[in-house]
Amino acid sequence: MDLKILITWLIPLFPLAGWFLWGIFGKYFKGLSGYIASGFVAASFILSVILFFIVAYSHGFTDTLYPWVYAGIFKAGVSADIDRLSVIMLVMVTGISTLVHVYSIGYMKGDKGFSRYFSFLNLFVFSMIMLVISNNLLLLYVFWEAVGFCSYILIGFWYERKSASDAGKKAFIVNRIGDFGFAVGIFLLFVTTKTLNYETVFAAIPSVPAYTTTIIALLLFAGAVGKSAQFPLYIWLPDAMEGPTPVSALIHAATMVTAGVYMIARFHVIFSYSPAASEVVLIIGTFTAFFAAFIALTQFDIKRIIAYSTISQLGYMFMAVGIGSYTAGIFHLISHAVFKGLLFLTAGSVMHGLSGELDLRKMGGLYSKMKTTAVTFIVGGLALSGIPPFSGFFSKDAVLADIYNKGFYFAWIIGEITALMTAFYIFRLIFLAFFGEPKPDQNKHAHESPQIMTIPMIILAVFAVIIGFLGIPPFNDSLFYNFLHTDFKNAYNFAPFVNNTPWYILSLISVFAGLLGIYAAYLLYIKKAFDPERIKSIFKPVYVLSYNKVYIDEIYNFLIVKPLLVFFDFLWKVIDVKVIDGAVNGIALAFAGFSAKARRIQNGMLMSYILTLSIGAAALLLYYFIR
């Protein structure tokens, strides 16, 4: 076997082995399982890096491990498609996973589900790796759902809490709604192209009628909407914060939720041949980016703020892939994975220090107590706000510049406003939590987290600073662009550039927006130039709307969940029991009733039998007589 193929299959093998080991023998390993699991994932990471360089200096390849489902003309194998896109994703996924694993050793210390936790975390890494390297849609779908399952089980990790198990269930079901569309899309794709292999599908797509492509693309996008928490299916992600924080960092910020973006980038051929579908992607992305940032403005739960921020940033990525700037989308995906992972880990560190406290109103002045956490958090916040030279600046601006230069001005304006709001809410969080007066009741025992947690944070912070330089020189000539662009050569260029505004002008505007947001937060929460309460009362309706998350959960509950449950109950108690079973029992009862009547004749009195007998004889004779 070729070395690179061996490496390819070893990468998912390590976490898979880890899953089995901790799942079955977890209790014999005790605390060790965390270290070994991290080692396994680290091995995957190292192999991924090796594979990255192999691919970077040679070319991509595909390989089939074994035939999986062959039925009739349907053929799908367990096979990998290694190209630049997948190796970049591989390195990102395994890298962040390694750090999160290490961090988790400290974070989950003493939890009685310690090895269960690492088992599922390893399973997640395995699934995510397979999702990234799969080369047919069936395999992609399998691991698409598998990561959803891991998310379900890890969100509901503390299953004794009703809210946690509710959140897990909600995540799974909402994802399923998206996957429903995804599955139908796969069916349609198979029916039109008779294959599910990437290469053959992509080869066939240009000759497929445009409306069919559009329908396929939209259906596939439905899956992405569910998985990547876009409007209207984003509702599971904020609730998913019930899970352990490293899980939020890994699954709900860095890797799984970005699978939708990856999927669109992977199927760029399908999406680029359907401008209409891409437009929908752009609209949904833009709206979600704004909408989630709007909600994030007024929340007090630090994890939820970051979660809404994730939704918002995913919106940016969808904007990018929606206008055909796939490299920009993936670049933002990578840099977002780094800084959002960082933010979650630091938030986890805050929680750890405050024994699980999440409410911003009960925090303050933590900077002095937990310096490392605060510094790394600020690095993440700056990256998120798009302040140079942090990574967010390069990636977000690559997206926004492309949007502007391709002529989508409205989306660009929304994007800039969102950037302002983003800077505001993340610095509101930073100022409220780390600066200002310490809250006496809470902060007594606040302490810095152990090194095993802070080191991954520091590493991520360093990357949050340097990874942006891959985007130098900004715009369509960067290192990253040149590296990845070859993978998207088959895309149909449906949105050509219409402007040629230089990057520094556009960047200046974005940076200005970001700084404005930070300044506003500074004025409100540090200088106290304005009383936040007054502003609250001025914009009361808007504030209430934002604070209550635009009542989306309630609307869904009231419009969909409740009526459906009533309907189902009706279906069971009336239709099933009364109507259908009633009909069946009715037939039986009719017979029973008839025989009850018939039994009256058999009253046990011999006399009446004899009487009947004679009547019968008379009647019989009469019959013969009149015949």
Partner: protein, 514 residues
């Protein structure tokens, strides 16, 4: 050994009967010996049936292990056995599930142990006989015999309204199968009239030419018999009652094997015998199937009784199978047959878990549970795997079957397939919601505090099923490559017949362009 292989099917059919005679001398009071010995015998039977798998030639659709003896020559009935890729797996499923259900009832069945094991073994004989029979009369005989042990199993060891359920089950299925018998005999007579060949041999009956109008009538007759057994949507109401009240072993066999007979009947009898009618009526059957998918899922969501929930989920799953079978594309029929096995494995496992929960808590109401996960991690793990397999999570068996069914049906019936696909959402809703309320959250019922985890026997009971879930999920090829030739032959056969009839009509109408 040659003899063994040659008469393997007969050996499989009659080994349980022989086992019964071995068990008869054992004293009624020696319950331990009865249980262990019967379980051992069913294990031996299962091992025997594995020889079928080993010696099965996979690249042919021809019937294998054929045995043929005269039986009632004056009726044209013969003792004619043989299996193809479909009945192979169904027989394996039967032997496996019988073993498992005997093993599972060590704790559940406390009274009349001897009668119980004898009835189970008898049932096994009849079930294998039904799958192996290639003679219509022999098939019908075994088919009806199956009801008797099942009636007693539900009636004697059931709970609640067990007599009502047992009677309902028997009367309902019996009335269906009588109509079916009428149809089969009618075909037999027609075949005799046409060819002068006085035979119940199904392979020869396939060649009967029946006009389209008659096909419709006969198909409806056969349809009633098989659809009730499946059960298809409006005929399903016996199922929740029977499942809910039956003992665990009864539910496992009922869901795992007995429901398969309906689909098997369609596959072996109704569709190949009456292809034109099958083609003409397939949209209606599929509509019923799709209604069943959603209906079963909807009703499952609001169930309060665990077993009833699983029973209604069966309705939903069997809807998928009917959709795949009647979509009549190679992929979907492959998927259907695979899903038959999956449903047997998964739902069987779910019933086992419900039984385990019932044995420990003496209740089946979902609201009485909660927080079991804390007390019983092993049970939680296996239960979760089974639930997820039932949900159709990729990587487990349910997904492969459902996916093949849906992708195969999409071409012919896109809208109905999309509606059916939405069933996967609701499957997640009802199963996960149930799982959350039963296993997760906090303990509310004090009885759960002393909840014991699975013991070794129970783990052994479950392990083969869970292993199969993973095997079919990750590597279904051993199954698919044996099913596929049979299915392809099935499809080419019905297409051929259908075309032949169609051409004959065209010829009559003078439309033939030849």
């Amino acid at each position: 050994m040659d003899f063994f292989i040659k008469y393997l099917l007969s050996i499989l059919i009659f080994f349980p009967v022989v086992s019964i005679f071995l068990l008869l001398p054992v004293n009624k009071k020696n319950e331990g010996i009865l249980r262990n010995f019967s379980t051992f015998l069913s294990l031996v039977e299962f091992i025997f049936s594995l020889y079928l798998f080993i010696y099965f030639k996979q690249n042919t659709y021809k019937f294998q292990f054929v045995e043929k003896f005269n039986w009632i020559p004056s009726f044209g009935a013969s003792y004619f056995l043989g299996i193809d890729g479909v009945s192979l797996f169904l027989i394996l499923l039967t032997t496996l599930l019988t073993f498992i259900s005997l093993l599972s009832s060590y704790r559940y069945i406390k009274e009349h142990v001897k009668e119980f094991v004898i009835l189970m073994l008898l049932l096994e004989t009849f079930m294998i006989g039904t799958f192996a029979a290639l003679d219509v009369l022999l098939f019908y005989l075994f088919w009806e015999f199956m009801l008797i042990p099942m009636y007693f199993i539900i009636g004697m060891w059931g709970t609640g309204k067990r007599i009502y359920s047992a009677v309902k089950f028997v009367l309902y299925t019996l009335s269906g199968s009588l109509i079916m018998l009428f149809g089969l005999i009618y075909i037999f007579i027609m075949h005799y009239d046409q060819t002068g060949d006085f035979t119940f041999n199904i392979l020869r009956l396939y060649n009967t030419h029946i006009s389209n109008g008659f096909q419709l009538i006969l198909f409806i007759a056969l349809f009633l018999g098989f659809a009730i057994k499946i059960p298809l949507f409006p005929f399903h109401t016996w199922l929740p009652d029977a499942h809910t009240e039956a003992p665990t072993a009864g539910s496992v066999i009922l869901a795992g094997v007995l429901l398969k007979f309906g689909v098997y009947g369609f596959f072996r009898f109704a569709i190949p015998l009456l292809p034109s009618a099958a083609f003409a009526l397939s949209p209606f059957v599929i509509i019923l199937g799709v209604i069943g998918i959603l209906y079963g899922a909807f009703v499952s969501i609001v169930q309060k009784d665990l077993k009833r929930l699983v029973a209604f989920s069966s309705v939903s799953h069997m809807g998928f199978i009917m959709l795949g079978l009647f979509a009549m594309s190679a992929i979907s029929v492959d998927g259907s047959i695979l899903q038959l096995l999956n449903h047997g494995i998964t739902t069987g496992a779910l019933f086992l878990f419900v039984g385990m929960l019932y044995e420990r808590m003496h209740t089946r109401q979902i609201k009485d549970f909660g927080g079991i996960a804390k007390k019983a991690p092993i049970l939680t793990t296996f239960f979760m795997i089974s639930v997820l397999a039932s949900v159709g999570l990729p990587g487990l068996n349910g997904f492969i079957g459902e996916f093949l069914i849906l992708i195969g049906s999409f071409h012919s019936y896109p809208v109905l397939t999309i509606i059916a696909t939405s069933g996967i959402i609701f499957a997640a809703v009802y199963l996960l919601w149930m799982f959350q309320r039963v296993m997760f959250q906090d303990i509310t019922n004090p009885a759960a505090e002393s909840f014991e985890d699975m013991n070794l026997r129970e783990i052994i009971t479950i392990l083969p099923l869970v292993a199969l879930m993973f095997l079919i999920g990750f590597y279904p090829m051993p199954f698919l490559e044996r099913i596929d030739p049979t299915v392809l032959h099935f499809l080419s056969m019905i297409n051929h017949h259908h075309k032949a009839v169609y051409n004959a009509i065209k010829l009559k109408a003078g439309l033939s362009n030849a």
